[in-house]
Symmetry: C2
């Protein structure tokens, strides 16, 4: 690692921008050199936090002391800001979703390639502990090979009242939370998505989706259900997964959860039929006593490095990015298939750019 700190200017000093300032402040190889935001109140907030408020984006780009531009603006201006930064010789960290379309993102990748600068997308939820617990189960087959993975995020607050409910700025829940949940799945599951079906929810009356559900079929036989809801006054578990030997649940962000597996040591005993509603059922009776084992969740899988440490190593030429642009492009492409599946009410196939 270089002993000199790399300097970053944060473009878009709203909620995410100021959150990044905090993250960057915690990294010993990076420092915030300032911010640019057209809103006066945010310029003042930046200065109050000790970060120079650049007067214009041109001023940022022409400042040779600035090595990195971090983009935390609404989605519709990511591309222009990124391309101009790359052309000015800056590295770029960009918030998710990286762009309004895969075509836009391809322009951004081309600009990075031409300039020889790094473009990395802040898919930070690859580091979420809940996800990494599932990743651990996937990799080590804690409950046998997983064949069904259900990933849900439920809230009851609707869409935030800012640009996130404006279609032209890339609002809506599929682009907001969806991009995280889909990125996690494609990062974990090394297989082609062979089909997707989906429904988008517009119950709140916005132009953009207030939630969605997508069903993904992978070539390796895994089925994944991805759901985001903002009209859910009761939440279903964050993760629900099924493996050959058992099931697992992670209820919430606090990682309450458990795994329940078949007890291979126990003698097989038929379950006792139960009364369910007005009928009897043996099929849906609880497994007989002793035939299953309930245990705590396994520890989370570790990633090779943190996001910003990895970014530093990448710009110094010492590591591959953990968040690869080919992966981000694949997720963007999947999002477009999910929009198409919902709009046409069809199963969409043959779209995935996966390469083994």
């Amino acid at each position: 690692m270089s002993s000199k700190k790399h300097t970053i200017v944060i473009v878009g000093y709203g909620g995410m921008g100021s959150y990044h300032a905090q993250l960057i402040g915690e990294n010993e190889h990076l420092e915030v050199a300032g911010s640019f935001d057209p809103l006066r109140a945010r310029q003042e907030a930046s200065e109050a936090a000790g970060y120079k408020a650049y007067a214009s984006y041109e001023e940022v780009l022409s400042d040779p002391a600035v090595e990195v531009v971090l983009i935390a603006t609404p989605n519709d201006v990511h591309k222009e800001i990124a391309v101009r930064a790359l052309q000015a010789g800056k590295h770029v960290v960009c918030e998710k979703p990286v762009a309004m379309s895969s075509d836009e993102f391809k322009e951004m990748i081309a600009a990075a390639d031409e300039s020889g600068r790094v473009l990395m997308v802040h898919q930070n939820r690859r580091w979420d502990e809940d996800f990494r617990v599932i990743k651990q189960m996937y990799e080590t087959e804690t409950i046998g090979a997983l064949f069904q993975i259900e990933s849900r995020v439920h809230g009851a607050n609707g869409i935030p009242g800012d640009w996130r409910h404006v279609k032209e700025q890339g609002g809506g829940m599929l682009l907001d939370w969806g991009v995280h949940l889909l990125d996690q799945l494609l990062f974990m599951i090394d297989s082609k998505v062979i089909s997707v079906s989906s429904t988008l929810s517009y119950i709140l009356g916005n132009d953009v989706d207030d939630g969605f559900e997508a069903v993904l079929q992978f070539e390796n036989g895994i089925k994944a259900i991805v759901e985001v809801g903002t009209t859910n006054f009761i939440t279903l578990p964050r993760w629900y997964v099924k493996g050959i030997e058992g099931s697992a649940v992670i209820e919430d962000w606090s990682l309450n959860g458990r795994i329940v597996t078949r007890n291979s040591e126990s003698e097989h005993r038929e379950p006792t039929p139960i009364r369910a509603g007005v009928g009897l059922t043996k099929t849906m009776a609880p497994p007989s006593e002793g035939s299953t084992i309930t245990e705590a969740l396994p520890p989370a899988a570790e990633l090779p490095d943190g996001f910003y440490n990895n970014f530093v190593a990448v710009i110094e030429g010492n590591a591959e990015p953990i968040v690869k642009n080919a992966e981000v492009l694949r997720v963007q492409n999947l999002i477009e298939a999910i929009f198409a599946a919902a709009e046409k009410n069809e199963v969409i196939k043959n779209f995935d750019t996966y390469e083994a």
Copy 2:
């Protein structure tokens, strides 16, 4: 009501047949006159329970004392047994799924029409209390108009080891539990199904599905998810529904559950962002304190009569059947669309025989 008891012979004296004997015994207008089952052990069980074991089906049909034939056999022989009974002038009660296909069921309906006898299918789970609580919420809009209804039945015991895992006999979970869950939805929701997508699970290696998930879109805007699983060591709630004003859950057969609705009396306060994984979220933060109300589930909707009381009134010409054959045909037709959707991996449309 006639003071004389109507006599029923139970064809197929297995688990369901003997369960019917018990139900019929509880009804003051009906009595079990005997059973027919080709297996010697079941003939003995019937006689031990005090019910004459007929030596052949011909003997049942030619016995003028027998008014009703109840069919509780494997699914592949329902049609033949029913048609012969109707042609012999008997009324018929048939277990679900009524037939192997909608074409078979149409033959059965035609035989009933020709003979002027009653054919009624034992869709008994219309009387399940959990379902009737949801029906109450649907009809009285306890949590506002419902727009999403998720109906799940999860077990971990696999498919029962009898004919229910044999394809040629109409095995599999879509035909077994699926027919109940779908019948409940179509009974409750007075709207056309405009599309269905589905996946069937074959994880246990049988010829028949060990579970399925279907997504139904109704013309009135309701989305329904119907899922049956036999490889679920952890169960998701039996019912999860969303309305314009709140959400409701019924966890299990014991009717543990609750409704959570928006508190319209509370001042709107933005929720406080929470740390979720490695990021912050306001969207997925719990609603601010006091902004929601948690209450008990409403009482269950009542049906006009019980299954067997209604059957008696129908054969005496005093009532319409609660389980109508046109409804059962519509469910059978939907099941065929679900099989087709899974096999083709396509969204199936324009199949519903619904008439307003």
